[in-house]
């Protein structure tokens, strides 16, 4: 069976103030379809760099990455964008919703970019709002929503096209603990119901309660990789 993600000997260096920083240092790992991974580690350990590399936002200096069996090294920027649009959902710490669009329109916008017709867009956006618990709030603009609600819209936007892989970078960082738990529960539900693969980079220990595999990074290396058992 094809892995959702395959990384082999990924290296990425950054040069800062005359120093060379190893963002990724010979990273090897595979992710099976439907996994829920918590990627953890201190700041600067390489979590975001790894997510960017997997999402095709940043190219590693060496090594191979394949998403759904497709090697990212062979794709140009346009093809990478198409791959992200169709198969990868991103959730970030900052939601950065389009402020002049309503919650529903923010979700629809991604579908519009995929060429989905208007009727189907409305239906999918309403379904998605219901799924993330924002039924009835679709006409509100981001400024009229709480931080947690905005993050839910951002999640809905990221997963409305039913990506096979969701990459989340500190998604709970701006949320209170209750909202953060709700968000992670939503991720877990989506993971179970749709088999969507989740890789969530976070310092937040609560994320580990929902993940089934933990990868810990330090100085660009994977120093710990094991399943998580939950009662």
């Amino acid at each position: 069976m094809t892995n959702a993600v395959h990384c082999h000997q990924l290296c990425r260096k950054f040069h800062q103030g005359g120093q060379t920083i190893h963002g990724l240092d010979h990273v090897d790992f595979d992710v099976a379809a439907g996994e829920f991974i918590c990627l953890t580690g201190p700041s600067g350990s390489g979590k975001t760099t790894l997510l960017n590399a997997i999402g095709g936002l940043d190219r590693p200096d060496s090594g191979d990455i394949a998403v759904g069996g497709v090697s990212l090294n062979t794709l140009d920027q346009g093809a990478l964008a198409d791959l992200r649009l169709a198969h990868i959902g991103f959730v970030f710490q900052s939601y950065n919703l389009i402020p002049v669009l309503s919650a529903r329109e923010n979700i629809e916008f991604i579908l519009l970019m995929q060429g989905v017709d208007a009727t189907e867009r409305h239906r999918l956006a309403d379904d998605m709002l219901r799924e993330v618990g924002l039924e009835g709030l679709g006409s509100r603009r981001p400024s009229e929503l709480s931080g947690g609600q905005q993050q839910r819209v951002a999640v809905a936007r990221a997963i409305v096209s039913r990506p096979t892989l969701v990459l989340a970078d500190e998604p709970t960082a701006n949320l209170d603990s209750h909202t953060a738990e709700q968000l992670m529960a939503l991720f877990a539900e989506l993971n179970l119901r749709h088999g969507t693969t989740f890789i969530v980079a976070s310092h937040d220990p609560r994320v580990q309660h929902f993940a089934r595999r933990l990868i810990r990074m330090q100085d660009g290396k994977i120093i710990e990789d094991h399943p998580l058992a939950h009662d």
Binding site: N52, G55, L57, D58, Q77, G78, A81, D82, L83, R84, L85, A86, I88, G89, F90, F92, S94, Y95, N96, I98, P99, V100, L101, E105, E108, F109, I110, L112, M113, A118, R121, R157, A158
Partner: protein, 409 residues
């Protein structure tokens, strides 16, 4: 409204004040362009109509060599009959045959070498405004044999009045001696100083007798329904004279090249001002859209990360810019059109332009004209320039890296 258009429209109003300022700049530019182009067109049309209607007409039928060598022998045979046939053409609104010669004219007090023009008195008013500028006496007619019409200034120079005798001495078409004694029957004031000072009119039949022209004339002056119809009229005339190889028709452009050159020169200097105006507005739009791109870096970074291709975002940027420019275009056309209509009624007076006005036979007040071309030419160029101004912000957007954009770098 499609979502992408809705987004572009709402994006415009993220910073209402900035958008309104940019729209105001575009609208002001468009208003000025519409008014200035309308005024220019109005002045050119007035200049052309006034100048061509005074004497030359929109077109002339001449001997094919007369324009380059205006010698008496290059004349039009059976000119009066030909003028009568030309008047039958539906495209021709007026036609009159003329004879042109030079002679020394003397009153009992003074002499002056002048141009003598023989006119078909009954038809001259259909091609020339001179008959309508009569100040004293009467116009030439069958009842004024050997009568002469003087310009106000030539009358002053010769110290001649109505009824004064003027002696004419010159040479005939065949080289013979041309002489006659004429009686002043009228004094005209065309408003063109040089013309009034150096030109006198007599009946064509008298001219043909005095200058030994027989049934020949120097040219036939013609007017078409309007200056915009000249090409059609010329085609019709050419069809009628096709069987007379010695003749050709000439339009006002050839007859009065100075007029066209004056217009072209004025257009060239006006274009410079228009270009500067448009560049200022284009930079205003460029600034507006560049600011928008820079402000939305994080937002664009997220969208790019979600798989929205650069080209899609660039498309949105151009849609937004086009809407902005369209707003400026519509407001500008409304304001410019209203301004044009107002001044079309009251006219615009330029202080200190009397000399120029006299040179080009312009009235004291110029009335701008409103025509689809005067209304749209400027605003459409501003529109295109404004959309073009989004090119630089689009290039910035094209090179936006999603990772650094998300980080706000």
């Amino acid at each position: 409204m499609p979502l992408s258009l809705r987004l572009a429209w709402r994006n415009l109003w993220r910073h209402q004040r900035r958008t309104w300022l940019t729209v105001a700049a575009m609208a002001l530019c468009n208003t000025l362009l519409i008014f200035m182009i309308g005024l220019q067109a109005g002045s050119y049309l007035t200049m052309l109509n006034n100048n061509l209607a005074v004497f030359s007409g929109h077109l002339q039928v001449q001997h094919r060599d007369y324009h380059d060598q205006p010698k008496p022998r290059f004349s039009v045979a059976n000119g009066v009959a030909l003028a009568a046939r030309l008047r039958q053409l539906p495209e021709v609104s007026g036609a009159a045959a003329r004879g042109m010669g030079f002679a020394l004219l003397s009153s009992d007090k003074r002499s002056k070498a002048m141009q003598v023009i023989g006119v078909e008195a009954e038809y001259e008013a259909s091609v020339s405004s001179i008959p309508g500028t009569l100040r004293e006496g009467q116009y030439l007619s069958a009842d004024t044999p050997n009568g002469v019409l003087l310009g106000q200034r030539s009358a002053n120079h010769l110290k001649a009045n109505i009824g004064s005798e003027i002696t004419l001495l010159g040479s005939g078409r065949d080289g013979s001696f041309a002489a006659s004694v004429l009686t002043v029957v009228g004094i005209v004031d065309s408003g063109m100083e040089e013309f009034d000072r150096n030109t006198v009119f007599i009946r064509l039949s008298d001219f043909q007798d005095i200058f030994s022209y027989g049934d020949e004339v120097s040219h036939i002056a013609l007017l078409s329904a309007s200056i915009f119809e000249v090409a059609n009229t010329q085609a019709a005339i050419d069809g009628l004279i096709a069987d007379r190889e010695t003749l050709r028709s000439l339009d006002w452009d050839v007859l009065m090249p100075g007029l066209k050159q004056a217009i072209q020169s004025d257009i060239a200097s006006a274009l410079f001002i228009y270009t500067v105006l448009i560049i200022v507005v284009v930079f205003s739009v460029l600034n507006n859209q560049l600011m928008a791109v820079l402000e939305r870096r994080k937002e664009y970074g997220i969208l790019l990360s979600l798989g929205v291709a650069h080209r899609r975002l660039i498309g949105l940027l151009f849609t937004e810019t086009a809407l902005l420019a369209l707003l400026g275009l519509l407001v500008g056309i409304a304001l410019g059109g209203a301004l044009n209509e107002y001044f079309a009624i009251v006219g615009v007076q330029f202080a200190g332009m009397e000399e120029m006005g006299e040179k080009f036979n312009l009235p004291a007040r110029i009335h701008p004209i409103t025509h689809p071309l005067t209304l749209l030419a400027g605003p459409i160029i501003v529109f295109i320039g404004s959309v073009f101004a989004a090119l630089y912000p689009a290039i910035k957007l094209r090179h936006l890296n999603p990772v650094s954009a998300r980080a706000g770098l």
